[in-house]
């Protein structure tokens, strides 16, 4: 149940965790039992989930911006309607995820403050600009495609509210990826200028998309514990490989070229090899040095400021009305 603030007594972060409690918890996880909001859980499990779910929610909310940039300039009414629906879905996904995080005892307001202050991160993919209409195709195809690879295993995450939110999200993401690929197909099969635009978008979005799975397993600080807790089911590198294997043939179908000269089918391992990735650039963007970091947060802050009076007025109206109703009884 999504009831906020109902942390059981043993969820007190100052309470000592006994080895028996920890062992019993791990037994439940190993038995594939779901953990629900009010069940006992180690403080570190709670903290990890709050970090992961809130970052995920923030990514959905910030992710509305690069695509929202093209809503008014979509090339047809059908494209406009589907892009609008997609951006609205991202907002919905953010809300399901904030609600799931709230079951762990953090408020939505706190999470929003963490996003605006920079204390919480979001997926660094959204710190790149959407320069042409083809970027909307590339985002749906690649960014949503990578997100789906990440999210499908999360439907089986050990934490019930997160897993349930992900089931809804995954159902809706499938439309996102297909609409993106349809845009790419139309451009790739169009005039030479359109095809060049599609190739240019692939050139810019390929590497950031491949990096969406996070640093290599050897450098991933949270991976091992998250796998033990069954928050994560597959390692970053395993998911990345799965994405590359699924996506390269889709690029081939469009007669577009993945911008990686080392990307080749390896018959021995039955996978595509990829060239080395520049993780220095990845970390620079995560830490705020990407092309759009400042604009993204500024736009979010403006939306928050501009909406403040609406929230206040709605609350004032509700308070006044309930006072009137009570007086009338």
């Amino acid at each position: 149940m999504y009831v906020r603030g109902l942390i059981n007594a043993s969820g007190d972060p100052n309470a000592a965790e006994t080895p028996e409690q920890l062992a019993h918890f791990q037994d439940r996880i190993d038995a594939e039992e779901k953990i629900e909001a009010r069940d006992w859980m180690p403080a570190a499990y709670r903290k990890t989930l709050i970090r992961q779910i809130s970052q995920h929610a923030h990514s959905e909310i910030i992710g509305m911006q690069p695509e929202g940039n093209w809503v008014t300039r979509a090339p047809s009414l059908r494209r406009k309607a589907s892009l609008l629906a997609k951006v609205q879905d991202e907002g919905g996904h953010g809300l399901y995820l904030y609600a799931a995080a709230e079951t762990l005892g953090i408020s939505r307001e706190e999470m929003q403050d963490q996003l605006l202050s920079g204390a919480a991160k979001y997926s660094s993919i959204f710190n790149y600009p959407t320069l042409t209409w083809a970027d909307i195709g590339a985002i749906g195809w690649l960014v949503d495609g990578a997100a789906i690879m990440n999210q499908i295993p999360l439907c089986r995450c050990s934490y019930g509210p997160y897993a349930r939110a992900m089931v809804r999200v995954c159902k809706e993401e499938s439309f996102h990826q297909r609409q993106g690929y349809e845009i790419m197909t139309t451009l790739a099969q169009g005039a030479p200028a359109q095809k060049a635009m599609a190739q240019d978008a692939l050139n810019r979005w390929w590497t950031p998309s491949v990096m969406m799975f996070g640093p290599p397993d050897s450098d991933s600080i949270h991976s091992v514990q998250s796998m033990t807790w069954k928050i994560k089911r597959f390692t970053n590198d395993a998911l990345r490989q799965r994405f590359v294997d699924a996506t390269v043939p889709q690029a081939d179908y469009l007669s577009l070229t993945v911008p990686d000269p080392d990307c080749k089918w390896n018959d021995a391992v039955q996978h595509y090899d990829i060239g080395p990735l520049d993780w220095g650039d990845f970390w620079k963007v995560v830490k705020g040095g990407g092309p759009m970091n400042r604009q993204r947060i500024a736009a979010r802050q403006k939306a928050d400021d501009d909406g403040a009076w609406v929230r206040e007025a709605a609350l004032a109206y509700a308070t006044k009305r309930s006072a009137l109703m009570e007086a009338a009884e």
Binding site: M1, Y2, V3, R4, L6, N8, A9, S10, E36, R38, D39, W40, A85, Q88, D89, G92, L95, Y96, A99, E102, S107, R108, E109, E110, Q112, D113, R164, A165, E172, D304, A308, R311, E312, A314, L315, Y317, A318, R321, S322
Partner: protein, 96 residues
């Protein structure tokens, strides 16, 4: 600490179609019941998932304590006489 206006939390229940019960689907923040219904429609029924919505203030829901799960529920496990399979019906009688 945030100084933003805190909108109350509502639990959302949706009936997918007539003949089925309302089922808990998640929650929304809203200033009052009317706004909670509108927000629930936008957040939870964008693809025809529902024909009816209930919202209830999260604070109005009382829940059993998971720490007392065993006392509450495990006792049902050894009352096998409440199950039809606990009773023997001669094979000649057929399905019952």
């Amino acid at each position: 600490m945030s100084d933003r206006a805190r909108l109350p939390l509502w639990e959302v229940f949706i009936r997918p179609r007539n003949g089925l019960a309302h089922r808990h689907v998640g929650s929304v923040h809203a200033s009052d019941a009317e706004m909670a219904l509108l927000a629930s429609r936008d957040v939870y029924t964008r693809r025809g998932e529902g024909r009816s919505i209930w919202v209830a203030p999260a604070t109005a829901i009382a829940a059993s304590d998971p720490d007392h799960k065993a006392e509450m529920f495990d006792t049902a496990d050894d009352k096998t006489y409440r199950q039809p399979t606990d009773y023997h019906v001669p094979e000649e009688v057929g399905d019952m």
